[in-house]
Chain length 235, copies 2
DNA sequence: TCAGAATGCGAGCGACGACTCGTGTTTGTC
DNA sequence: GACAAACACGAGTCGTCGCTCGCATTCTGA
């Protein structure tokens, strides 16, 4: 009597199949990003990928599984892309630079993967998709908490959590503006987002890091940042 | 030859009909708020209102028209509720209080009309609904611009517009957090939102208002209603 | 070489939702 | 009371969408 495995055994995929899966996920990313999850039809995804509806269901049991798999791959990409960006909290670097660096990385990732924002922000996520959504959100919240807690040693945990939620919400709001604009406007919005986060957090951090920030404190108010646009990669 | 009116003439409504319309709009508000616009079915709205699907279509040509009418009534409500809250920019009151008052009013309205946020924020708005959506958004943006422009006389118009967009985005983000929480948490988030907006705007307003407040600014500005800020404001 | 698995197709099924239509009831007006 | 218009009903139509099924084609391993 063989082992009766009720779960689906992972059917052996050929190289062709893996290619199709990548193709389908890319198509799904495109369709999701342009029309949202709920409005995206599986037929449209299959058409975008250049295959038949039946072929799509050879690799995914249902529409939700496509979004789940896509979300997981995006999370993996994000971890490898800048997983270490949030982890180390260097108390030596001034807050303004830390915020700017974090924002730059996040924005960069989301500009290259616009689906991510759609899946994170879309309210039209049924069933198990919502769990994935929440899990992802909570992961990010926890990260921000870990980043903030050394800077806010005096606050109760609930306050730190709340501040983390506010930071996430502010970031998502700014990201929406950034993704909706282009060119110089986009860079300007990025700068505004940095300003918002920095000015929000700076008074909370208090006098702890005040001395380290003394270098660039005076330039914060009067700077007009519309001219220099060469945002080269900072080493 | 009689006047061939291709457009639908407004059929004479009885009192019963007006009551039904209000009933249906209330039901639609409930269903939209709980499930979103796209996921809401007209049958569910009719059921919520306690009427048949056919009755619903006696008063609205289609699903979109329900949302349109609902949005227009909400806008009217908002205008009467605190239409004057944004209009007068009293330069004597400190920025912090002005921001707090505006936030309190907006939050209050949205807590009593949760549909408003759904219709404003939902990405699932097809066809003509999007126009209405944009129109409403632009109206609010313009209001914020008019509020800000006297405070930012030195900035170019594009910068003021951008700042207004940022303020709106920040407000919407904060509102989402507020609506998702309850009790003390909700009040705490309201306070955070006020802090965010104030800290963002305060450095922008800069030393201009600081002087004006010390001098107890001349009330000459308060009388003009829609003066399109002639950028050469003589200090 | 060849059995069997993986891949691919696309017409079609079942469910659901926006909307209609024929019919009956209530209301305003003469 | 009579007539028309407004109101109300709910079973039914039509289109869409997620998903299936039978069958053809390609690949793998022995």
């Amino acid at each position: 009597m063989p082992t009766h495995q009720e779960q689906e055994q992972p059917r052996r995929r050929q190289a062709r199949g893996e290619r199709r899966i990548a193709q389908l996920l890319e198509a799904a990313a495109s369709v999701f990003a342009s029309t949202g999850y709920a409005s995206a039809s599986t037929n449209a995804i299959a058409r975008e990928a250049g295959v038949s509806p039946g072929t799509l269901y050879q690799f995914f049991p249902n529409k939700e599984a496509i979004a789940i798999e896509l979300g997981q791959r995006l999370m993996a990409d994000m971890r490898t892309a800048y997983g270490e960006a949030l982890a180390p909290i260097d108390p030596a670097t001034p807050l303004e630079q830390a915020v700017a660096a974090a924002v730059d990385r996040f924005i960069d990732f989301n500009c290259h993967n616009p689906v991510f924002f759609t899946l994170m922000h879309g309210p039209d996520v049924p069933g198990r998709m919502a769990e994935e959504h929440d899990a992802l959100h909570n992961t990010l919240i926890t990260r921000v908490e870990n980043l903030l807690s050394p800077l806010l040693p005096d606050r109760p945990a609930a306050a730190v959590t709340r501040i983390a939620h506010v930071c996430m919400a502010l970031y998502m709001a700014g990201l929406e503006l950034v993704l909706a604009s282009e060119g110089d406007d986009r860079e300007a919005y990025v700068q505004e987002l940095k300003d918002v986060l920095f000015r929000y957090l700076d008074p909370l951090v208090g006098d702890r890091l005040r001395d380290a920030q003394a270098v660039s404190a005076s330039t914060a108010v009067a700077s007009n940042a519309t001219s220099n646009a060469t945002s080269t990669a900072t080493p």
